[in-house]
């Protein structure tokens, strides 16, 4: 009874949210999982349970290996996006951390693409990545032409092998500022005494960064990687906006949408669940790790 009076009101306040999340997150995931092991391949509904057939078919029996192709696209996109955003983010934070006059202006500009939707920025990136070259070049190719760097001109996302690397550019543009903000907070969270102690010990600037500052930034880098990584796996808006749904740039999130348009619910559900598992593999250990880290402080 005393326990109930102690926790009762709190749980009462919390319970509507818990019920909503139980239903709309976990309940619906369970529902999607159920659809993914059924044979609901059209709007007529399901006739029965087929086990993991929908999953195995995605890997072994998909036309032109469409699903594997979408995973390959996702991998290229993710690698280029993560490397690009982490590099620019760290470099920008490092430059600002070295002390730049008018820092606020640079910070604001570097971060502003975050406030724009992928759908809106996709409109302009579609044009910037115009595949025309030489005389007819536009967008970035025209910039390269103007700078005498014609060899850099390329067909961007329309390239069948490496197009997804180009598709990562708008994402890098949009999120490097976010990584910068994380690293900048990391730099500024390092106690001044630590720098001073290193200076007293006669450490050079290089050694100061190499041995004192960068190691302190490891948790920041991990957070940034995981947040960007899980975003990358879910990437949908940007691709829909830049190229629209099409074979060349298809990733699993877009494949789900395309499959739903054909009312193949079982297959769409199976792709969604694979996507969920990919994200969970990254996020769950991270949540557990941060939970523990918090308890220890």
């Amino acid at each position: 009874m005393r326990r109930l009076r102690q926790w009762g009101p709190g749980l009462l306040l919390l319970s509507p949210s818990l019920i909503l999340l139980a239903v709309f997150v976990y309940g619906l995931i369970a529902w999607t999982t159920k659809v993914s092991v059924s044979d609901e391949h059209n709007a007529l509904g399901s006739k029965g349970f087929v086990g993991l057939e929908n999953y195995t078919k995605l890997f072994t029996d998909d036309i032109n290996d469409r699903f594997v192709h979408s995973l390959k696209n996702l991998l290229i996109f993710t690698v280029v996006f993560l490397v690009g955003a982490m590099l620019f983010g760290l470099l920008w934070a490092f430059l600002l951390e070295r002390g730049v006059r008018g820092e606020g202006i640079f910070r604001t500009v570097y971060l502003f693409p975050m406030a724009v939707s992928f759908v809106a920025s996709g409109v302009v990136w579609r044009w910037l990545m115009n595949p025309n070259k030489g005389e007819n070049a536009g967008g970035l190719n025209a910039v390269f032409g103007g700078l005498g760097l014609d060899f850099l001109q390329n067909t961007w996302w329309t390239n069948p092998d490496w197009g997804m690397a180009a598709m990562a550019m708008p994402a890098i543009w949009q999120l490097s500022g976010y990584v910068m903000a994380l690293f900048l907070a990391g730099f500024r969270g390092i106690p001044q005494e630590l720098r001073e102690a290193a200076a007293v010990d006669g450490a050079s600037t290089y050694r100061l960064y190499r041995n004192v500052i960068f190691p302190q930034l490891t948790p920041v880098a991990l957070s940034a990687l995981i947040i960007l990584g899980h975003m990358s796996m879910k990437m949908f808006d940007l691709i829909m906006s830049v190229s629209g749904p099409q074979w060349l740039t298809e990733v699993p999130a877009v494949y789900v949408w395309q499959t739903l348009l054909t009312s193949d619910y079982a297959k769409a559900a199976a792709i969604s669940i694979i996507l969920l598992l990919l994200v969970a593999v990254v996020i769950v250990p991270y949540l557990i790790y941060t939970n523990r880290a918090e308890k220890n402080t």
């Binding site: 709309f24 559900a269 941060t290």
Partner: protein, 297 residues
């Protein structure tokens, strides 16, 4: 205190990012390289914005791939008018979406955050982690049954449905932001004093906690407003161009077979304007939401 791992407190203002010491006033070669780099990156980040703005003031033969970087031959508002014609209805609808979402989510987040920051009931950590996981899931994994369930419970299609789903899936991030805010800024003594005075949980929350929660509200309101405004995934699954938000309308305008580039760019600017205004005016709090570790853009 780290400002980056997920359960860590978000800094509620950009001041956290500000340097602790004055920039050094030195103008050696290193300094020149530093300024050259920050300016170069400033230009690169602003380049897409330049193309958006100049193209939006062009019309007719002025619009062309090869003349993309040129200023308009004649400045005209024709493309803005055209874009506004096809976007204004959804522009208003998006306010009807984003404002209720921002307010409702924030109130729910505040209540949950308060409970979770004070009442350590058994299993509180597990519950909190289960709540957090909800903000990382790829929404495709719930989308198939979600369409059915909102129809079944009788929520009208279009904006009301989207308000509902954004509020539900916004619970994790808002709860996280408020939990961290209360854990770091509300002294235990204040809550204890209210308890000694005989105030129950609900009364303490309503009369003591809510009035000092404004900084937390600013962060969640901005965050939820921006993510509802910029959302495309829920919008494309749960609404259409006639009853949906502006991202859908923009995609229809810009994604046509032979899109009017100038009108698309003007449309992208119209679409981005509200969130950019929020970012410029309230940027110092915008960062608070970013730092909380979620990037639902």
């Amino acid at each position: 205190m780290t400002t980056t791992s997920i359960p860590a407190p978000p800094p509620t203002s950009i001041e956290t990012l500000s340097p602790k010491r004055k920039p050094r006033r030195e103008f050696g070669p290193g300094s020149i390289v530093k300024y050259a780099l920050v300016l170069l990156f400033l230009i690169i980040v602003l380049m897409p914005m330049y193309v958006l703005i100049v193209t939006s003031f062009k019309s007719g033969s002025d619009i062309g791939v090869t003349s993309q970087w040129n200023l308009p031959e004649t400045w005209t508002l024709a493309s803005w008018e055209k874009a506004w014609d096809s976007l204004h209805a959804s522009f208003i609808r998006t306010f009807q979406l984003a404002i209720p979402v921002a307010l409702i989510s924030s109130v729910i987040g505040a209540a949950n955050g308060f409970v979770l920051s004070r009442w350590r009931f058994p299993g509180a950590d597990v519950v909190f982690t289960l709540i957090l996981f909800g903000m990382f899931i790829p929404y495709q994994a719930v989308m198939i049954p979600l369409r059915d369930i909102v129809t079944t419970i009788g929520i009208p299609p279009g904006i009301p449905t989207l308000v509902f789903v954004h509020c539900v899936y916004g619970i994790p991030i808002c709860t996280l932001i408020f939990r961290n805010y209360y854990a770091t800024t509300v002294p235990e003594e204040l809550v204890e004093a209210a308890r000694v005075d005989g105030a129950g949980l609900l009364r303490t929350f309503a009369w003591i906690i809510l009035p000092i929660s404004i900084p937390g509200f600013v962060v969640t309101i901005i965050w939820q407003f921006t993510s509802a405004w910029n959302d495309y995934l829920f919008a494309i699954f749960l609404s259409n161009t006639r009853n949906g938000p502006i991202t859908i309308a923009l995609n229809a305008l810009a994604g046509a077979q032979s899109p009017d580039y100038a009108a698309s760019m003007a449309g992208a600017l119209i679409t981005s304007l509200p969130t950019l205004v929020v970012y410029v005016l309230l940027g110092r709090w915008f960062i608070g939401g970013l730092m909380a570790g979620s990037v639902k853009s």
